[in-house]
């Protein structure tokens, strides 16, 4: 894959020539809810040509998925689809079941978001691909198997034979998505619909899958409809973009037009809301040219950037790093880990599992430390141990001055300590009790800690609602009456209720849409400035850390591989893993992303 990119770094999209593969005219989708038609998509018009990637971008509820599933009649039975969908000139809407079945999987294939659940867990990957092949072509089982193996090879699975025999759960997330892509390509589709194909994947795996898709697009000359909420993914892959909001396409155009000259205010707002690695926080932290930083750290040349310019950018970067003042830490550390190891205790016959080893980390009052890593790196484990939810197996962990390494589970010491620590959880929907009004959820920690009761408690609850910018009369509402962003505000208010010295935030915005995420992060940042709590911010998203954190710790496989100030990590990453992680984050800008991609290819080829 790297060879391919080195050969042809500048992929110019083939402009739409001749008849489009897919032509959508006046497509509307409605869902019947409580005997009323609720529109999900209204009068959509677009077309896709062979070898072209059209990205349909929007936030949840914009109708991007529903309208795309409607192309193949994959919507539930309470839906109504009108308009016209033509595939190579042939109408798809309103044809009978047998005819649409012949199109599904053969002419139009779909890649779904969750590779774990999108493949049937009880059949081998090979069996599922063979099923598709034999359904659409008259071949013997042996021929079908050979075809499946060729497909698995095409998607660059290291051992196609083994993948063929594997069940989905035996493959990693990225491998599963490759298998899914192999299945969808097995009948040479004219059109590929990719519904959030990389959303469930880690950032380095995402970059690999994006490389693969770009590679395949050029090899196979299929048309691709890419549905995503991620502007970085769009910048990486799309030739043309349609921006959707509340069922309407508000703007469409080439990738360059949309990114460099967005016309509609929603597009502008959406682009502004995307956290952009290197962009820094709300106040005037200088923007970091991560590409130049990586180029300098790895001594790479980038073909698409003139050498003088690269040198200039690298110099500017080095100067900024030298100029960046490192704030002297003050006061007693709020959280201090010395050579900490954390085990998941053994359960039945499952032996104990060491999730974190040799972790050293200090957080001073008022400091925000971002803990970044991919899934399974142990970042959440450290967060959970910091509030005493997991025992420390070795080393010492001091929280707010107390050594809790040997503390008894559910003992008095942990109980005392938790008074000074607040926690915000990842999923705002499941971390609030659905049967408690949110006012009670917010007030519960204060009540339990006997901090306040009666009128005093009510007053504090109102203050907290003010702080997280929710109306006071929301206190009697139940969680299901609130939106995701509002629920997460409640989660923050609850974590703040005891005026904690340390806040542990575990991926608090990863379940939110970008525009909502931007607002919640903004609020969080303001509260942190105002109240001055220290924060351990756990996330997989480097761009989010960049907005918030003073210091960044990078974790890989249970170890902290690199830590430093934001500038040190972003401007001068030393560890190979940090470099690879930074290089894998797609930039919401097609030109910058092209540079980044080239750099990443060099980084990977240099490593191997």
């Amino acid at each position: 894959m790297t060879d391919f990119i080195a050969l042809d770094p500048d992929i110019t999209p083939a402009p739409g020539k001749g008849e489009p593969v897919l032509e959508v005219r006046n497509l509307s989708v409605d869902f019947g809810v409580d005997k009323k038609w609720v529109p999900a998509a209204i009068g959509l018009n677009y077309e896709v040509h062979a070898g072209e990637v059209l990205a349909i971008v929007g936030e949840s509820g914009s109708g991007k998925s529903a309208s795309s599933m409607a192309l193949l009649g994959l919507l539930p039975s309470n839906s109504r689809v009108t308009g016209s969908v033509k595939l190579a000139g042939k109408e798809l809407l309103g044809v009978n079941e047998a005819n649409i079945r012949a199109v599904r999987g053969k002419d139009v294939a779909v890649i779904f978001q969750e590779p774990m659940t999108a493949l049937n867990p009880v059949y081998t990957v090979g069996a599922q691909i063979v099923e598709t092949v034999r359904l659409h072509s008259e071949v013997s089982p042996e021929e079908a198997k050979q075809r499946a193996l060729r497909m698995l090879e095409l998607v660059e699975l290291p051992d196609p034979e083994k993948a063929f025999r594997s069940y989905p759960h035996q493959l990693s997330g990225g491998q599963r998505q490759r298998a899914m892509i192999a299945q969808s390509l097995s009948c040479d589709p004219k059109l590929l619909i990719a519904d959030e194909p990389t959303t469930a994947l880690d950032v380095t795996v995402q970059a690999e899958i994006l490389d693969l898709m770009r590679n395949l697009r050029n090899k196979l000359d299929s048309a691709i409809v890419l549905i995503t909420h991620d502007m970085g993914v769009v910048a990486d892959l799309a030739d043309r973009i349609a921006v959707m909001r509340r069922g309407l396409i508000v703007e469409s155009g080439t990738a360059a037009e949309i990114f460099h000259n967005p016309q509609h205010e929603y597009t502008q707002a959406l682009l502004a809301a995307v956290p952009h690695l290197g962009q820094g926080g709300a106040d005037s932290v200088a923007e970091v040219d991560v590409t130049a930083a990586l180029a300098a750290a790895t001594h790479a040349d980038i073909e698409s950037v003139p050498e003088e310019e690269l040198v200039r950018r690298e110099r500017a970067n080095a100067a900024a790093l030298a100029a960046a003042e490192t704030a002297k830490p003050e006061g007693e550390p709020v959280l201090e880990l010395t050579n900490v190891a954390i085990d998941y205790p053994k359960q039945g016959r499952v032996p104990a599992f060491r999730a974190v080893e040799g972790a050293n980390l200090v957080i001073y009052p008022g400091q925000v430390v971002g803990l970044v890593g991919e899934s399974g790196s142990g970042k959440t484990t450290i967060g959970r141990a910091a509030v005493g939810l997991l025992p420390v197996a070795a080393g010492t962990m001091k929280v707010v001055g107390q050594d809790i390494s040997g503390a008894k589970r559910n003992g008095r010491q942990l109980h005392e300590m938790r008074r000074y620590v607040g926690m915000v959880f990842q999923d705002p929907s499941s971390s609030l009790n659905p049967r408690l009004p949110i006012g009670e959820s917010i007030g519960e920690p204060m009540f339990l800690a006997r901090e306040a009761k009666g009128a005093g408690l009510q007053k504090r609850i109102e203050e907290l609602l003010d702080q997280v910018e929710l109306p006071r009369d929301y206190r009697n509402r139940y969680p299901h009456e609130l939106s995701g962003g509002q629920k997460q505000r409640v989660g923050i208010a609850r974590a703040l209720s005891l005026k904690p010295k340390l806040m542990v935030a575990d991926e608090p915005t990863s379940a939110l849409d970008v525009s909502v995420q931007a607002k919640v992060l903004d609020l969080f940042q303001n509260l942190q400035k105002e109240l001055g709590f220290a924060c351990l911010f756990v996330t997989h998203d480097l761009a989010v850390v960049d907005v918030l954190a003073d210091r960044i710790c990078v974790m890989q496989r249970g170890r902290i591989v690199e830590q430093g100030t934001r500038d040190q990590i972003l401007r001068n990453p030393q560890e190979l893993y940090t470099q690879r992680l930074l290089a894998a984050v797609p930039l919401p800008d097609p030109d910058k992303q092209r540079e980044r991609r080239e750099l990443r290819a060099q980084l990977l080829s240099g490593a191997s």
């Binding site: 994959l74 999987g105 999108a118 867990p121 009880v122 359904l135 659409h136 299945q183």
Partner: protein
Amino acid sequence: MSTYILRRFLQLIPVFLGATLLVYFLVFSLPGDPIVALFGDKPVNEAVAAKLRVQYHLDQPFWMQYLFYLQSIFTFDLGQDFSGRPIATVLGEVFPVTARLAIMALIFEGVFGIVFGLIAGLRKGKFFDATVLVASLIVIGIPIFVLGFLLQFTIGVQLGWAKPTVSSAATVQDLILPAIVLGLGSFAYVLRLTRTSVIENMNADYVRTATAKGLSRFRVVRVHILRNSLIPVITFLGADLGALMGGAIVTEGIFNIPGVGNRLYRAVLSGEGPTVVSIVTVLVLIYCLSNLLVDLLYAWLDPRIRYDN
């Protein structure tokens, strides 16, 4: 896998010892003197009674009685019941009858429960689904002896479609009606379990993938939905086999079937310790083995479950 099976068999040993000890103790603690009961209305002949007590070790303390019993098991001599017939012979007579009954009930509840549950699940919210749901609730709500007498009276006596009682041979034909009665309660559970499971799987992502591949509705249901939906159902059916064997007492009573339940009931009444313990021990073993079978089936149906280490 083989180490797993071996381990499961080793686990049977403590289960076996525990079950026999517990049941033996319960029978031992029953009030009344079984030897006196043997004489019925006749005056007790003390000499004969003393001889019988020695023969059945009833003069020994509890622990000795239990050890004598264990010894008899391991020498494959289960002793005799109070009418002087070898217990092994008695077991050989009653277990095949009840096994036949239980397996017929299992087939009935499995086949009909899964078929009805599948159809109801696929037509969620429609007329068939609603009807079947209400009917299954009624079946679950009515105690088995009421259902038993009701069916015996209507189908057996009034309509004459089946014999109201079972002959001593207890042929398959004789047992159809009792098997339906015995399996009716579990049938309702299997139906509901299948229905819930099908509804859950219908909305699964992989079913959408299967549809997007272009598979026909029939193939999506048969290949992709059914197998995934059967996993919890199979677990229930396996555990139910043991329950049906031991739980046939009422059904056997109603239809006068010469099976385990009937014999066990009589043995409990007359305080025949060894007979009760032998029957219960075999039931416990059947229960354990059917559970093992379920776990193996489970691994076969769902490749995510593996029992190595």
